[in-house]
Each structure stands twice: as C-alpha cells, then as structure tokens.
Subunit: 244 residues, 6 copies
C-alpha cells in the first residue's frame, strides 16, 4: 500500500497499460466519460516503453479572472491558492487544474512545474494552457495541457480552491481519483475502482499482446478479437508458454 | 438598507438602467468582463419598462456528471446541493449556476423555478440549459439560460457546492455580487462597487435620455455624445426644466 | 394501432407530455443522448396547450456537396433523394434530415414543406438550416432546424439516401423511431420503447401537475419531489378526487 | 436611377423578394458564399409583407481592441471612425460592420442607430453585437447582428477604417455592394450583378407563387418544381390570367 | 492498370506530388472542397521523400451511439460493420471513416490497423479519433485522424454502413474516389478525374521545382510565378537539360 | 539603431527571452491581449537555445474570397497584394497575415516563403493555414500558422490590403509593432513599448534563471518567487558572482 491507498502492484500495473485499455475497463463498469478531452502531453515524443504518469488527483480550481483582484501582487505571501497547491501537493500526486477549457492563458509555468517535480509530484494536468511549454516538454515530469500558452494566468484565471471536486477536460475529477497518462492523453479512474480496473486492465493487455502477435502473423480478427473457444485455448497455451 | 447590504435606492436605480449602461460604468472602473456571454432571457418578449432582475448572487456549482453517482435516487432526502440551493436561497437573491457553459442538459426546470419564485427569489441565471423553458418563459420570475434544454441535469451536471465563487457565462461571480438582468442579458457588479455604479449609471441614463431626444430631433452626435461645453449647458437646462 | 405500429393511445399521450418528461423516462431506461442538440422550433411562439409534433421518423441523409454534381439540374425528373423523400414520406411521419449540423445552407424551403404538409406529414426536423423560415414558421406543420438559412441546399448538402439510420443533432435516429417535439425541442424515442415510455410519461406528468399545484401553494420540495410516504398519500387522494 | 446607381425598379423588386430567392440567383451565377452566416434580425417578429432592407454597403472595419488606445476618451472630437461612419453614411445605404464574428461586445447602440435612422440610412448590419438591442428591435430601421451584447465596443473592437472592403458573417462585402435583408437574414449582391439579379429574382418569385398555389391545391412537385412542359404552359396561362 | 482502375503511372505520380499541388489542380476544375479539414497524420515526423498514401476509398459510416445497442457484445460474430470493413477492405484501398468530426472517442485502434496493414490496405483516414495512437504513429501504414482519442468507439460511434458515400473532414467521399495523403493532410480526388489530375499535377511539380531553384538563386516571383514568356523559355531549357 | 527604429540591443535581448516573459511585461503595462491565440510554429521541434523570431510587423489583410474575382489569373502581373507583400517586405520584418482565423485554406506556400527568406524577412505569421507545411517546417525562417492547410488561398482568402492595421490570432497588429516568436508562439509588442519591454524582460529572465536554479536545489517558492528581502539579497549576490 502506498500512503494514498493505491497498492504498489496496482500502481505498477497502471504505469504499463494504455489509456485506451483503461477506458474499455471503465466502459465495462458503465463509465463513458473518463478521458480528458482536448488535453495532450506537452512532450513531443513518447518513446515506446516510457512509463505512464500515475497518481492521485490533487486539484486546483480556477474561475475567470477579475482585473481588480488578479494583479501580480497576489503572489506575495503564502496564501495564493496556485502557489499553495504547488507547495502542498503530496508526493506521488498529480496536480489537476480546472481552467474551464480556456487555454488563452497559462495555468502554470516552468518554475512551478520544477518545484512540483522536486517535491515528488507525479505529474501536472490542466485543461488550460501551460507557459514555458518547450522547456517543460523536456522535463522528466509528465505534463498535459490543452495548448502551449504564454500569457500569465492572472489574465484569465483566478485561483480559488484547492482539492475540491472539479471538472477537467469535461471529466469529473474528485480528489484522490487516480490519474493515468500516456502518450495519447489522460484517463481518470474513480478511486474506489482503481484496484479492480488495474487488475483487469493488466489482464486485457496480456491478451491483446497475444492478439497483436497473431494479427501480425496473418490471423484474421473474426473469432480472435473477441476470442471464440479456439482462440481462447490458443491464448491460454501462449500464455502458459511465456509464464504470463 | 436591505438585509443583504444593497440600499433600497441603489436597488431601485438598478431596476431601471440598462445592462449596456452598467457595462460602461464598470469599464470606467477597469472591469471589462462583466456581461454573461451566451446567456439570454427565456422570455420571448421584454416589454418596454419591464423592471430589471436585481439581486445578490446565490451560487450553485456543477461539475461534469458521473454515471455511478448521478442517478435519480440522489434527489431523495435533503442533502442534494441543487435541491438545497432551491430551499436555501434567500429572498431577493438570484440563483446563479455554473454549468461550464454546457447547455446539452438542463440545470433546473419549472418545479424548482416555481419553488424559488414562491420563496421570493429575484431570478435564475445559468450558463447551462433550462427545461420546461416555454412554461418558465411565461412566469413572472426572470430566468436566463444558454439555451432551452430538455434533458435532466443528471445526464451532464453533478451539483457539488453551494455559494462558492463560480464562473458563469465566462464571468466571475462571487456570492453577494449584484446581478442585474434586462432584455439583453445579465451583468455582474462586484458587491463593493454596487452602490457607486448604481448612482453613476442613473446619472448616465438621465444624460442619454437627453441625448436620444436631441438625436431624434435631428442633432448630430459630434459635440453631443460625448458632450462638449454647449451640449453640457443644454443638458443642464433640459434637466432643470424636468426636475431630474 | 396506427399503420406504423404506435398505438393511438400512445400517440395521444405523447402529444401532451413535455420533451423534458420524455428525457427523464429515457434516462430511467439508460438512454442519455435523446434530445436533439441545437435544434429549435421555427415557430417564434409556442402557445400553452399546443399539441406536440408526434410521428415516426422518415429520414433523409445529406453528405457535403460537390460542385460538379450538385447543380440546379439535379432536381429534374423524379430521382433526386430530397424530392423523393418529400413525395414518399408516409402520412403521420416526420422527415428527419442529417445535415451534419451544418446550417450554412438550407435543407428545405417553403414549397417542399407545404407539399409535405398537404401530404399529411407530422413535421420536419433538420440539424441544418431551413429557408423561407419566416413563412414556414407561420404554417401549421411543426418544423425544427438549427437556424434559418437562405442558401439553397446544393451549396453545401448532397442528398444521398432515404430512410437509413442517421444522426441528427448528435442523436441516432433509426427509421421508425418516434419523434416528439414541443416548444423546447425534439426528443427521439427508440421504436421498441415508445409504448412504454408514453405510458410512464403520462403518469409522471399527472404527478408533476400535483407537485406544481403544491409548490404554488407554498409546499417545499423536500419530501414532495421526489415524494415520501406522506406526499404519496396526498397525491393518491388528489388524483382520486380528480378522477385522473 | 438612384444616386447610388441601383435603379428604382431594382430597388423596389429587391424590397419584395426573399433572401432565399436571391441566393438561388447568385448560385446560378457561380456565387455560393453570399448569405451572412450567424447574423440575424434583432426584430423578434417579421410580419408578412414587411419590406426588405435594401441599400448599398457603407462599411466600418474593426480590429481587436488594445487597452492603451481604446478608452472612452477616443469619442471626443470628430475623428473616431465609428462616429465618423454614423455621420457620413449616405441616405439609402446600409452600415456593414466587420467585427470578426466576435459578439462579446457591441459594435453600436441605440443612440448611434437612432442617428443613422434620422439621417436616412437603410439599415445596420454587424457580425458582432448590438447593445440596447431590445430598444433597437422596436425601431423602424432594420438591424442585424450576431447577438445582443451589452458591453461597449471599446472592450473588444478598435474601429480602424471606413468604407474599405471587409468580411462580415464570413462573406466579402465591398463598398457599394447591395445588401438585402428579410426576416431570415442578409444577402450580399455584388454591385455589378444587382440589376440582373433583381430582375430574375422577381421572375422567380412570380413562378414560385404559382407553384405554391398548385402545391396547396394538392399538386405534386414532380414535373412542377422544376417545371416540365405541362407545368410551364399552366404557369403561362396562370400568369396571363393575373396580368403578372 | 491496377485492379481498381487507377493506372500504375497515375498511382506512382500521385505518390510523389504534394496535396497542395492536387488542390490547385482540382481548383482549376471547379472543385474547392477537397482537402479534409482538421484531419492530420498521426506520424509525428514526415521525412522528406516519404511516399504519399495513395488508394481508392473504402468507406465506413458511423452514426451517434445508443447505449442499448452499442455494448462490447456487438463485436462477436462477423457482422459488425467496423470489423467487417477491416476484413473486407481490398488491398491498395484506404479505409475512410465518417465520424461526424467527433474525436471524443476512437474509430479504430492498433489491432484493427495492424490487421488492415497486413491485408495490404494503403491507409486509414478518420475524422474521429484513433486510439493506441502513439503505437500506430510508428507503424508503416499511414494513418490520419482528427485527434488521438483513447475511448472505445462504442461510447460515441455506432458503425452502420460499409462503402456508401460519406462525408469526412467536411469533404464528400464516394467509394472508389482516390485518397492521397502527405505530411500535410489528405485530399480526395473524384474517381473520374484521377488520371487527369495526376498527369497535370506531375507537370505542375516539375515547373515548381524549377521555380524554387530560381527563387533560391535570387530571382523574384514577378514574371516567374506565374511565368511570363521569358520564364517559360527558361523553364523549357532547364527541363530539356535535365530530361524531365 | 536598425533601420526600423528598434535598437540592436533590444533586438538581441528579444531574441533570447521567452514569449511568456514578454506577456508578463506587457501585463504590467496594462496589456492583456498580446499573445496570438491558436497560432503555432510549424517547426516540429524547437531546440533549446534557438533564437527567437524578432521583427517589425509588415501586414497583409485578407477578406473572404469571391468566386468571380479570385481565380488563378489574378497572380499575373505585379499588382496582387499577396505577391506584392512578398516582394515589398523589408529585410528584418515579419509578414503578418490576417486570415480571420480561417485555416481551411492556405495563406502562402513554400515558394513565397522561400522568396521572403531570400529577401531577408525575419519570419512569417498567419492565423490561417500554410501549405507545403512540412517543407516550410524544415526551412531556416521561422513560420507560424493556425494549421497546415493544402488548399490554395484563392478558395477562401481574397488579399486586399498591405501594411494596414489588422487582427491576427485575436490580437491587434499595427505595422511596425514588434513580433517575437519562440517555440510556444508569438507575442505582439506595440512599437512604442518595445525598447522598454525588452530591457525589463531581459532583467526578468536573469532573475528567473536564479529562481530556477534555487528551485532545482530544493528551495521553496514562498519568499523566493516573488522574492522577499532575503531572496533579493541572495539574487544580488548570485548576480554579482556571475557578472550578469
């Protein structure tokens, strides 16, 4: 068990399965709206085998900015929710920001992202913009945004709350939900489903590894994907042979 | 003084000035983003002289819905935030709902709106949909929405918070801000500016009444709007003659 | 039983319940995406008590136009699918057109709508535009569109198929599905659910009539909507007293 | 001949034909993009028989506003292009404003519209917003906008040029083009085509009057619309009988 | 001649000319809407000299999904249109999918794409999403989509038809039309124009190779692009010297 | 001093600071809308240390195209504004094109971009499309567009004016304004602010270099960013030690 409740085994599995597989598992459980729409990795390449971003959601909520209260002076002291979030996010968590899908200004930049990386955060996710995006794209911490966007957040976003339920990319995110991100995007797994989904997703990916081998070898998809009896037996044999 | 802090005089003035005038007053004070974008009155006609909606903001925040927690059973009991809001909104207040601009489902319908009207609410404003919209359009209580929308809120909206700062129509709304709505739409006046803005807006409208009379009589706008010395003098005479 | 399979009783009920009620009934059956998004009645007013549009879907599918094949000559003869649809739609049916949500051109105009009205069609629905819209808005046949739009369909829409499954306003529509439209918009009821949904919708509206009377009389919504034991008993008494 | 070159006969014809008919005539001449997209009449009703807006385009171009140069002081004097346009527009012309489709602020309000009406302008068209829209909607001068919008133009729009070619609602508008507006919207007729289009549009509407009478009487559209020999003969007889 | 009717020479030429050149050739023939809007290659890099995707269109049509009929069970057997398409697409063809421009869910993933690659398909094009997109981006088969999108197609897309005319990216696509894709996007060439367009596009590119050499050498574009007599002569000499 | 008025020192500084920093400096001066929205570099990678695009704005204005006046013949001669702009843009300037945010067609292609590069232009910026985009992406001249887009500009864009004030990406651009582009996007600096902004941006970046070093070393952001007295002193020491 990690501090946050997600088992180390589940965390390890989630680091290796695709967001596509996770959406299928959640669809099986009746959840259709789990993939953040319009939110992409800043990293321009996602090499094969790069582990996924996996972590509990720590949230920051923005509302539209107002000129008289959103000026550069607000960052003095220790009370501003954006700065608070950066210093408070627990290790292994993902900062998820609700920018109402508005990427015309940034929600964070390289200094804050570096600070979170040093503090052990697992990733940063926003449905607004990120500034210093080419610099952030080269960092080790996975970051996802709607678009690169240079303007300071004060121009459009007023930080108002930490760690309340939010929407991000059109998906509900509750603090403690598990965020998983790969080169395709980010999926939200409700906390109470995470262990279960991780286990079944791992199983699904073993089977799909078998399928793709078969397809590469010229086997058609009928009877194989989804599998009928013959394919099921072949899979079991394949699996045993590989000790998977 | 009303219970909520807005003077009766300011409230009366705000009931008679246009949202256009109010945006000009707020622009003079450095505020540019005060008119709810894409939010319109449900009433198909707005007769000349109909008093504006005026009231303090009482807010309800929605995030995107999730299938396992947003089912019809949630309305049982007294805890659901949407139902809570309807029973808690103080008289003279306006319910303002943050639906993230998504009108593909309703945020309320005729039963809840009727209840708020009976309880003395001053109006209902949402950047989502309203269902039973043709029925609501005929009611005495002014209601504003992004679009008529039949689907129940549970399909898209999860009610999560009451009376926190929200965004609505792209504008920040803090509990206690003054909402004013006419046939054109809704403007948000930050609470601390309301008395001042009301006074100056009243003055502006007296002057514009003079201007429009002049223009109808064939006077050109140069020197009149904005006024130079001669027009200023004519206005003062006009005003005194009418005791305004 | 009408020719098309929908009972006269169901048809009568559906003519009197709101699309809001119907979306709730369909939500109870697991269907969330049944209300045509962005599609509105052309009629500028929808008087209280006006019967709904009710009818089986007869569909017309458009794809984007191509300059060399979409010229005014195509309307000669009897083969053009749009003209074919107008002459083939059975009485009591609703013409539903898939324009891919593109209202930058019309999908029909007053001559074709008049012809369908004369032929007994129950209504016209499109997620594109309708031309001659002010004239159509005054006709007895209910028509729904994304927007008034003067340009001839040939500019954007190539009619390609009659009576195949389509999307309209983001909702799947299969030939024979039941379309119901009121002043708020249009809901699609899958054919096999129509009798059931009609019956339960009728029941729901009787109850809501009771609720709104109570609310107007000052009763709060807790315990009433949804009803607990006491309200249920009161409703039964109310209902019996009125013979509903 | 009017001052502007459009004959009185053409002007009279254009006042009575629909924008739908005009788009067909322009389509016949190879022009597909002539109807302003997303621009609607402010008037909530368009009674049968109300004459169209007809007039030569007089244009005003806005670019996005900049805080340091777009303040209330710019309206002093006689140099501001928006105010200049209002005082310079010739009688019988239509003010057409390019707001880049952005209706989040107004491009004019009731005082300026009144001034133009008094000066004899034929109409006002914008792909931005209009403020004081409920008041303007009641005026005799036809006005078209993307949406009612209270905020002053200075918040979003910097007036920069008078009477240059512009885009409005996605359509090119050259000074002197003929704008025609009915209850459906606005069509732009290139100046050199206006006489021709007017004549043919008048002819088309006589024929369509015949068609709609036939259709109301139960005649099918095949062979009638478009007409084959028999229908052509019937039309000629119908026309002679009525002296049209 | 290939099986499908496109000559080997045309196919070879089309593999080497740009989609930009092809749109110019089609514009010369009166076709303006031939480039798929919003559809991009999944491959993150497109090395100089990579041959284009070229192939006949084999189409798959989706309409919006419905919860009761779009569940994981539909993939059993051999009847599901999506699976059918994957097993039926002829070698050398391009699968083109109509997702109504909705990329909030996938239209295919790596297993199906692999199967089509093994079966000899020339490419995959969708105006929806593709899942497993980072994996697909590394494959040899060129794939184009509106966006990477993890969710299974069942969440949004109901596969309904194979090889009917569709729209994709706002462009009409008829079965047998020639699809050509480079690093910029995809162009649709109506089948009957393909040989002609290929020939002229080849010629155009020879000329543009000359032009770009001249421009790199400091020659101005006036008189060169488009060419006047002198540039035409220079081009002919240049061409002969190179035997092109 | 360069020919255009921007000092060589300012130009050098602007080549090395980020667009994020520049938006902050402009925000301090009251300008919020300075970053081109939706406009990205065509270059797929932006290596660390690549100098920014810096240059004075030379503008080209497009309005929507019209079929009868936008044909391939317009490029003959020397009068077409697009071709004129390419031959007239002074060295060190950036061509900025107003395409009304419409990227469904190109605003230029590789031949014109090559010509501008040869002539010494500093960059090309458009809120429309660029064709031959993969080829342009490999050139030394920095180019920014809304999207790659193959269709010739004549399909959607009518070039109308050179070097007038325009909007691009929602931002006002006056001829002579300073455009700065990095891997994130493009910022517009009003001409009269450029020297000042350059100086302060340079200062800001020195400080942020210090901050990021501190953060990487484990220092928290409170008291550091923005700096309180202790951090200010540490910064001065750090700076002196490095002679910055």
């Amino acid at each position: 068990m990690s501090v946050s409740g997600l088992s180390a085994a589940a965390r390890a599995t989630l680091a290796g399965v695709s967001t596509a597989t996770l959406t299928t598992q959640l669809f099986k459980r009746g959840l259709r709206n789990v993939f953040l729409q319009g939110v992409q990795p800043l990293a321009r390449d996602w090499p094969e085998g790069r582990p996924n971003m996996v972590g509990e959601a720590f949230t920051l909520r923005y509302i539209p900015a107002r000129e008289d209260i959103d000026h550069l002076g607000v960052f003095a002291g220790t009370a501003h929710p954006q700065r608070r979030a950066v210093e408070d996010i627990p290790p292994g968590h993902v900062l998820v920001m609700d920018c109402r899908g508005d990427a015309s200004a940034a929600s964070a930049g390289s200094i804050l992202v570096t600070r979170m990386m040093v503090r052990g955060a697992a990733g940063v996710v926003t449905d607004g913009g990120l500034r210093d995006s080419t610099e952030i794209a080269r960092m080790a911490i996975p970051c996802y945004a709607r678009a690169p966007s240079a303007p300071t957040n004060l121009i459009k976003h007023h930080a108002v709350d930490i760690n309340v339920p939010i929407g991000c990319g059109g998906v509900p995110v509750f603090p403690g939900d598990i965020l998983v991100g790969d080169g395709e995007g980010v999926v939200v797994i409700p906390a109470h489903l995470a262990e279960d989904v991780a286990r079944d997703a791992g199983e699904q990916e073993v089977f799909e590894r078998f399928v793709i081998e078969q397809v590469r070898a010229g086997v058609g998809i009928f009877g194989l994907y989804p599998p009928e009896a013959e394919a099921k037996a072949a899979f079991e044999a394949w699996r045993q042979a590989r000790g998977l």
